[in-house]
Symmetry: C2
Subunit: 289 residues, 2 copies
């Protein structure tokens, strides 16, 4: 906790951007690395990632639900300007995180990519498993609109407790978790494609979105995911007490869930799974470019 | 998602700081408000807050444990400077959160209060329940040192996956949750004092820390809290599957906890509860100033 001078990312030597040259050069080796990295991308590893991300999403909703809706967070007139507190908060926080290197990881996509500062952390060789011509699929605007217009009022109580900065910080954690899961559709699509390219090539060549959507859809698997997410909302959102059986049985506090488990079910059914599949389809459409 | 000009907190009119004048003036009414607010601060409300905060702390540890230790996050040489990535990240994030008004809420205390920008959000009348002469108790340096020197290596795996920005962001969420809980000791002490001032006044007048610590200690209650936190780490950190009984029974995946439940138990026993009591004692020592 040294006191002065106050350190900031802007203090670090500009020559670090030299490292970006190294990164660009290294992209020439992309084909070789892609081959190597794909060994690590399997249908199993993709499923493990998505399952773990469900926990993160449910935790983030429960934490946001600590605060009421807090409408001034979303009302531009609250700050006497054009932009809401949450939009400014997300932009400025993403700038700090960009400088710390967050968006070097291809799994991470900012909501406001324009004018983001460069990373001042040295480049890290994240596995490059995505097909470059397809990797830029981006539905952040749809996620932003869905979250604020449709989802937020469903799992927060009405009211105002003044904690607008904490509210915006919790919103950002939710948005980042949802975006990471939905954009992971690119990795899902790549793993599925590598597993059976012959199944996808005709529809890709025909640029047939409906056929691709059909190939990517498994209603029974989707129902299983929705039910598991609902159960996670029940288990993680219950009030834990030291009752005699000490098992964490989610039946014991059925009325005290911090987020309604059926909201978690519908979040996945109505938005998370459809948007992930949209990302998968858009990715595959460019998989042979 | 307007693109230009990029909004930032610095764009907002300076006359908003006029609002601070209003806030200062309003402190003249502090006694009246203190009396009103205290109606809302009870031993029950304090207990509810602490119990809910346990969930937040356990969630935050589980989320940090997604990433390995990631030592470059903590090594100043990684950024070729005097400060670690995590320290710079926390300072810059706290600055963004300060501008959004986070530290208007007396429950929130920054780790790096020097040179924080003023809040640009209009003042919000948070209940002023703390006794002003005692409210400034601060153990953030102790929490910072405990977290990085003692706790972090206990619940993260060895290794390095390059996600240093995500790691620092997760660390900050843990630190903020721990700090909020520990500094809530000020509210705990105020509620206990208001409940039975006659029990505390002699020890406060004698400035007898040991006597105060004894008054504030209930070993059976502390054991209950530690066991409940351990159980939360079991329930929230298990792998949830759609097994036949569908109850979220934490016995079913006993070896897959994302954070070792005994670490959560010892975190509370060795640090969270003792530090909260330290805050309570320090607060009470100034309760008659």
């Amino acid at each position: 906790m040294a006191s002065s001078p106050t350190p900031s990312f802007s203090m670090f030597p500009r020559f670090l951007s030299f490292a970006y040259g190294v990164l660009i050069f290294s992209s020439f080796c992309h084909c070789r690395r892609l081959q190597d990295s794909l060994k690590g991308l399997t249908l199993d590893s993709v499923r493990d990632f998505l399952t773990r991300e469900e926990d993160t999403i449910v935790f983030s909703l429960i934490e946001r639900a600590k605060y009421p809706y807090n409408s001034p967070t979303y009302d531009p007139s609250y700050l006497h300007g054009k932009f809401s507190l949450v939009e400014i908060f997300v932009r400025e926080t993403e700038a700090v995180q960009a400088k710390a290197g967050r968006y070097q990881n291809p799994e991470e996509i900012p909501f406001f990519p324009n004018n983001l500062p460069l990373s001042l952390a040295p480049p890290y060789k994240f596995p490059q498993v995505l097909y470059p011509a397809a990797a830029s699929v981006n539905v952040t605007k749809t996620i932003w609109t869905m979250y604020f217009n449709d989802l937020l009022s469903l799992f927060t109580t009405r009211g105002n407790d003044g904690n607008y900065a904490l509210t915006a910080a919790s919103d950002l954690v939710c948005l980042q978790a949802l975006s990471r899961r939905i954009h992971y559709g690119r990795f899902v699509a790549e793993a599925k494609y590598r597993d059976a390219p012959q199944d996808y090539n005709p529809a890709i060549r025909a640029q047939d979105k409906d056929a691709l959507m059909k190939l990517l859809t498994s209603e029974s698997q989707e129902e299983l995911v929705k039910r598991r997410v609902k159960k996670k909302a029940m288990v993680f959102g219950q009030d834990i007490t030291l009752d005699e059986n000490d098992t964490g049985d989610s039946n014991s506090n059925r009325t005290n869930y911090k987020v309604d488990p059926s909201i978690a079910y519908h979040l996945y059914g109505d938005w998370v799974i459809p948007l992930t599949k949209l990302v998968e389809v858009e990715y595959l459409l460019h998989r042979l470019d």
